[in-house]
């Protein structure tokens, strides 16, 4: 079982050497030469620098297609027509499963056709030089976004290829994404990734790391998400990462979202060592979207408005075509501009929301309780602690497909639309906090004239795609009699 200790240079070297042979592009990776390439990049392509010096939220979309030229065109479009400040390269599913052979076939098939036979950019197959072509062709910094439990070779190739930010982490890219990867192994794999980022950082090339905050994207209680961010942040910092962007996914309640982002920033700065620069990223709603672009624009706009009030360092935007899967580049750029309009119109306004402090205090207390339980479960070691805590259910993520988590916790919205916990299972929260949640859900049950039950959970999961925030009984039709396209 891994402990939270820094890999030695020897270990780093040995693992890297083993990985080189997993796919031929691994052999192209030369650390010294990669440092030189990064040093050749202008300040405008230095991810950490651009992000950490911004004076208002930077916008970043998701985007990935198989072929290099198409990926460059897509990102250039999002940069020029969407006004993206930071660019992504989303990796395909085969690469996420380390199936480079299948990715190669998909890439070859995509090259020979007008269709995209992969759902992202197979960066390992493209190799170091093609990654650098991408980086050179664009004006903004580019991040690798994926969902890969074992992202070691992907990190080696893409960092050598000039990417300066790398999404994911051992929990956030395991628990919500896969079924059978055990947590001990993914932690070891990510210790390598983080150590590699640390090695670049020590040579003056700061690599930004971004744990994936939304987790399962479905009504995740803020304290659970924040605890995972802190654990991944600590694990990364141990390996030498010095630029960490902690994430949080919109739940749709303005006060709770602003409070959660403030708690995330505060606790990030408190829990992570002083040498680490902590920034925050806000993901626009990651749950089900209305199957209606007009209503979807409303969901995106609420995200933009929330960002204007909370002022995270970065916003990951959505598009109005979210319901139907991968958006066109036009819809993707439109999502950026709609978000930008809300931020630009609201960011200079003095918006002082009542109740933020109380909600933030509750989130912080919960998060601290979860962190205490984690340390305790590992006798002070955060790596061992998080494995044991997930195993016992002391830490848990709702709707987690992974066998590594109990997935027994269930959330529901309270009468104000804030995400509370309906089923705690073995989650390590003190009784007084549990009582607060139960009382809030009790208010809702009373309003609705029904018992607290899994039915609320089910109704809430569908609520936003049905055009509401809270899944009230009989809530499929607007009280004012308006027809909803979302039903």
């Amino acid at each position: 079982m891994p402990t939270d200790e820094r890999l030695s240079d020897d270990q780093l070297q040995r693992i890297a050497n083993d990985l080189r042979d997993n796919w031929h592009t691994g052999r192209e990776v030369d650390f010294e030469e990669a440092i030189a390439f990064h040093e050749s990049l202008p300040a405008s392509k230095q991810f950490a620098q651009v992000l950490e010096s911004a004076d208002q939220p930077l916008l970043q979309p998701r985007a990935g297609v198989p072929c290099l030229e198409e990926q460059i065109d897509l990102l250039r479009y999002l940069q020029d027509e969407g006004g993206a400040d930071l660019l992504p390269t989303t990796i395909d599913s085969y690469t996420r499963d380390n199936e480079y052979e299948k990715a190669e076939e998909g890439l070859a098939a995509s090259r020979g056709s007008d269709e995209n036979e992969l759902n992202g950019f197979p960066a390992v197959n493209h190799g170091v030089e093609d990654c650098r072509r991408l980086i050179r062709a664009l004006d903004a910094p580019v991040e690798v976004r994926h969902g890969t439990p074992d992202a070691r070779l992907l990190a080696m190739v893409t960092l050598a290829g000039g990417f300066q930010s790398f999404e994911g982490g051992p929990i956030s890219y395991n628990i919500p994404y896969t079924k059978r990867h055990d947590l001990a192994t993914t932690i070891e794999h990510w210790q390598f990734v983080d150590r590699l980022c640390g090695a670049y950082t020590e040579r003056g090339v700061t690599i930004n790391r971004e744990p994936f905050g939304p987790l399962t994207g479905t009504l995740v209680p803020p304290s659970i998400a924040i605890a995972v961010m802190l654990v991944e942040g600590e694990l990364a910092a141990t390996q030498g990462v010095r630029s960490l962007t902690l994430g949080y996914g919109q739940v749709g309640n303005l006060v709770q979202d602003v409070a959660a982002l403030r708690a995330l920033r505060k606790l990030g700065n408190e829990y992570l060592r002083d040498e680490v620069t902590v920034t925050t990223v806000f993901h626009e709603w990651m749950g089900g979207f209305p199957p209606d672009e007009a209503r979807a624009n409303g969901v995106i706009s609420l995200g933009g408005a929330t960002a204007a009030v909370a002022q995270p360092d970065k916003v990951i935007t959505k598009s109005a075509q979210e319901f139907q899967g991968v958006p066109t580049k036009e819809a993707n750029a439109a999502g950026l501009r709609t978000t930008r309009q809300l931020i630009d119109m609201m960011i200079e306004q003095d918006i002082d929301l009542g109740g933020i402090d109380e909600e933030q205090a509750l989130i912080e207390r919960e998060t601290r309780a979860l962190m205490d339980a984690i340390y305790e479960a590992g006798d002070g070691d955060v790596a061992q602690g998080v494995i044991n805590a997930f195993d016992s259910g002391a830490l848990d993520v709702p709707f987690a497909p992974s066998d590594a988590a109990k997935g027994a916790v269930l959330p529901a919205r309270d009468d104000d639309g804030r995400v509370r916990i309906f089923e705690f299972a073995d989650l390590a929260l003190p009784d007084d906090i549990k009582e607060i949640h139960a009382a809030r859900l009790g208010e809702r049950a009373e309003t609705e004239g029904r018992d607290q039950s899994f039915r609320m959970v089910a109704d809430d999961v569908d609520a936003i795609s049905d055009g509401k925030l809270i899944g009230r009984p009989g809530g499929d039709n607007s009280p004012a009699g308006g027809a909803s396209d979302a039903d």
Binding site: K179, T216, F399, A400, R455, V457, V461
Partner: protein
């Protein structure tokens, strides 16, 4: 085999490489609340896992979920495996069963032909599926409620 007031066991899982977990989590809760004994195999469940779970838990129904559009390929041969294992269980399938905008009646016919007793789309409420299950297992509502109180 099943006494009148003993909980009926159902097997639940998302078939193939599909990782959509929300639907079955809610279905599991609904079935438990309705008095059923639920074995939830979770996401990314292979055909043989459904079969061996049905056998070892002496289940009366196998509920297969699929939301990523590859249900037909993933379910091909499942009923043969169940037959081979000598199991005569009720089988339901539900979710987004076909890629694209194909006609649901057509999809329904396809899956009925493959051997499923009932076929549901992704909009089906858990309650509706449970209602059908009660009907197919010849449980009265009263009995189901009784079970819940006892169980």
């Amino acid at each position: 085999m099943t006494g009148k007031y003993m909980p009926r066991t159902v097997i639940l899982g998302v078939i193939g490489s599909d990782a959509h977990v929300v639907g079955i989590t809610i279905l599991e809760q609904a079935l438990s609340a309705a008095g059923f004994e639920v074995i939830n195999l979770g996401v990314q469940t292979a055909q043989d896992e459904f079969v061996s779970a049905a056998k070892s838990h002496d289940a009366e129904a196998v509920l297969v979920s699929s939301l990523y559009g590859h249900a037909r390929q993933d379910c091909e041969g499942l009923h043969d495996e169940l037959d081979d294992a000598g199991l005569d269980v009720l089988t339901y399938v539900g979710g987004n069963l076909a890629v694209g905008q194909s006609d649901f009646e057509e999809t329904q016919a396809t899956f009925r032909q493959m051997g499923f007793d009932r076929v549901f789309d992704a909009e089906t409420d858990p309650e509706e599926a449970i209602e059908m299950l009660r009907e197919d297992l010849q449980l009265t509502t009263t009995e189901a409620e009784q079970i819940r109180v006892d169980g």
